[in-house]
Symmetry: C2
Subunit: 451 residues, 2 copies
């Protein structure tokens, strides 16, 4: 839906809910796609959105679709005032991965009441799902998959499908043996291609790609992307099939992880920042800036130690920005290439020495060019003092090399020690380079200028 049509939907909903035109509202809601309704609700005022969700509750399947697409973190606010009994039908319709994720965000009282109201099988499923780490295959998988005994025939498989209209994302049918161990996969397409009496085990692909419950969601996404899959089965430690991760969930993971990395590297500690409230935005952004303030105070203290030299040669101050700017820029280039290269699976995090070696070759050339230009400029600006030019040029070479190597090393080492590379880079990295850069610059300058 185009931005204009989406805006139109938002405006109509707002107008009708203010007028209390329930009939018209229901008509519009019935025609719109759930994804568009979810987005529209997120743009309305809380009170308006709550009234509309109240109307959706008349059709629990529809309410579940909208809730699944709505930002889960904001559902507790959308559902304010609703009881467990009113929400129960929605949870019965929700895909299990969405249901578990949403339950975890509700108040404990409400969560427990809803689980108590659900059928035992369903609430046990959900409680199990909630145990898995949020960022693991178990945490994002759905248990509404469809598996079949490998001894069945194609005809029986088709009948089985017809009897299970609820199963999610059925484009692959997973084949299991009598112990529910995953032994193969057939596509819906294949099912149509073979003679109806053929047993699944005779045409299934037994080289099926699966992931363990504890696999990191990023790795799951990489596997789906790499092998162009529509979904990947999740197995427990006995290779028993326990769930599936579908490609639409993988797309969300890829987008969220990219967003998280970009924001972390920019010093924004929480991905839910667009359209955040002022106080949430301040809380998310201030810590990193205060770290930078700390770094800046450190730099000031360092430079304060060279006050004597600055009094002798005030022109030295003029080149602080270029030294800091280039050290930081080259460090950001290097760290971004490494962070993204690792995330895309193009850069092997264990090949540390070879990454440093490549970066050394590149920065040697880059730093020499930049330093030459800066030295020439400082020559002109500093009354043709070759010592000033030498100080500026050689500082730049040293600081840029330091920045590039630190920018390469920090994300690779953080990865090795299990720290998110994107956290360890960003403002912390540039602030460190600034500090060391200023120190190097003044030490080198003092030596060249004999101060």
């Amino acid at each position: 839906m185009s931005q204009d049509r989406q805006q139109l939907l938002v405006d109509s909903l707002r107008r009708l809910v203010r007028r209390g035109a329930v009939g018209n509202l229901e008509r519009i809601l019935a025609k719109a796609r759930s994804e568009d309704v979810a987005l529209a609700l997120s743009e309305l005022m809380d009170r308006e959105a709550r009234s509309i969700f109240g109307l959706l509750l008349n059709d629990p399947a529809r309410a579940a679709e909208v809730a699944g697409e709505y930002e889960h973190a904001r559902l507790p606010s959308l559902w304010q005032g609703l009881t467990a009994a009113e929400l129960k039908p929605v949870f019965e319709e929700l895909a299990s991965d969405d249901a578990a994720d949403i339950l975890q965000r509700l108040d404990e009282d409400l969560r427990v009441s809803i689980l108590n109201l659900l059928e035992d099988a369903e609430s046990e499923d959900l409680e199990e799902l909630m145990q898995y780490g949020e960022d693991t295959a178990g945490g994002i998988m759905s248990t509404d998959f469809f598996s079949l005994d490998k001894e069945l025939t194609a005809r029986e498989a088709i009948v089985g499908l017809q009897d299970n209209p609820e199963a999610e994302g059925v484009f692959y049918l997973y084949c299991v043996n009598e112990e529910d161990t995953l032994v193969g996969v057939v596509s819906l397409r294949q099912l149509l291609m073979v003679r109806p009496s053929t047993q699944l085990k005779n045409f299934m692909n037994s080289d099926v790609i699966s992931v363990p419950l504890t696999e990191d969601q990023e790795e799951v996404a990489r596997i789906v992307a790499r092998y162009n899959l529509l979904g990947v089965p999740v197995v427990d430690e006995f290779n028993k099939l326990v769930g599936i991760v579908t490609v639409d969930d993988v797309i969300d993971v890829l987008r969220d992880e990219a967003t998280e990395d970009m924001l972390l590297m920019a010093g924004v500690a929480d991905e839910d920042i667009v359209n955040a409230t002022t106080s949430h935005a301040v809380k998310t952004r201030l810590p990193w800036l205060l770290a930078a303030v700390g770094g800046g105070i450190g730099a000031a203290a360092l430079i304060g130690r060279f006050e004597h030299q600055l009094e002798e040669a005030a022109i030295l101050a003029a080149f602080i920005p270029i030294v800091m700017g280039l050290g930081g820029n080259v460090g950001v280039q290097a760290s971004t290439i490494v962070v993204r290269g690792m995330a895309m699976g193009q850069l092997d995090p264990t090949k540390f020495a070879s990454a440093l070696f490549s970066e050394t070759k590149v920065v040697a050339i880059i730093a020499t060019v930049c330093a030459s230009v800066a030295a020439a400029a400082s020559m002109v600006m500093g009354d043709f003092d070759p010592n000033l030019a030498g100080a500026v040029g050689s500082s730049l070479v040293v600081v840029m090399t330091f920045g590039a190597l630190l920018g390469t090393a920090v994300p690779m080492l953080s990865h090795r020690f299990g720290i998110d590379p994107a956290v360890a880079t960003g403002p912390i990295l540039t602030t460190s380079i600034d500090l060391v850069g200023v120190l190097i610059y003044f030490l080198i300058s003092a030596a060249w200028l004999g101060l």
Copy 2:
């Protein structure tokens, strides 16, 4: 495949190709997945990879799978020495979107020869595909889709499918009328659920989401992600069905676009940077750093104008880093939030005033806190001179506000003028903030300190 097993594949291939053990090589290649072989080839030396691809040519379908997964930009080098006649069978097997993309990267002679060897229908298809912009729906779509007359029955549709084992990504069947206009969609699943004699038009979903040929690939990806689709049909200006974009292509688009944005914002002008040669890396990274050198020289010239003030109060130099650092950091935060928010469709680029207003509220608080801390520190470091503290604090408030608003405005305005927001931000933004920041700092300080 785990990193270890992938490394094992690379090592085995290398060893066997050096020994010339063709039989063993063929056995290993037959067992490995095409995606893994493609990745392994990219890690081998050019000469080794060429020998192995030579072996793959015995099975054109397999060679096409590997070529499709191999980095297309590097295929001309992998195929060095191969003739049009040797490559023709590979092109016959390639998906049309891959074939068109690869052809565009070959030398004109080879491209023309291959097109001449292919059947007329096929080469016409490819020539048409090559006309569409690389980043549009037309540029990434495949023409190997499967469509059916809406008058057909479910049974006839299944027979049609069985007769077309080649059609790509068939999870949806697109229904057309006698003019090939797209009128509906049915899923494979639905086909199994209805009575075989039901006509498609009686159960198809006629509210089908499609995209025009010229739609930007990012928008195509957003639509597929938003509506959780496995593919989206592409239509021409008469709503005639001309191709499909499948979800695996969308995943590639999403990953590539995120990579491109991250690297551009870090001042890296080309996404093919991981594992690039030294000279390519230098060419990709140097331009932005030279721009920063230019900015740094500008800052030096500005500061040079305040040499007299610096001689009076050398301590002023100590606070250059904090002013520059925080202006830059807050600008990077703001611009990253805006760039990513627009890319994710969470931030409406036309709501410029409201974005600036939100950012103003946030930065007012953030800047006040940071400035207070910095002013207190400068008070201590500057022999308790309240004027120095006032100068540092008020400069920080002004520079941070400027940085935050520029960081918000630049990407939104670039979007409006059709410039990639990620290009316009990054080093250009921070360098501009540095320059203006230094100027503001010295002007305010000179005023406070009466210099």
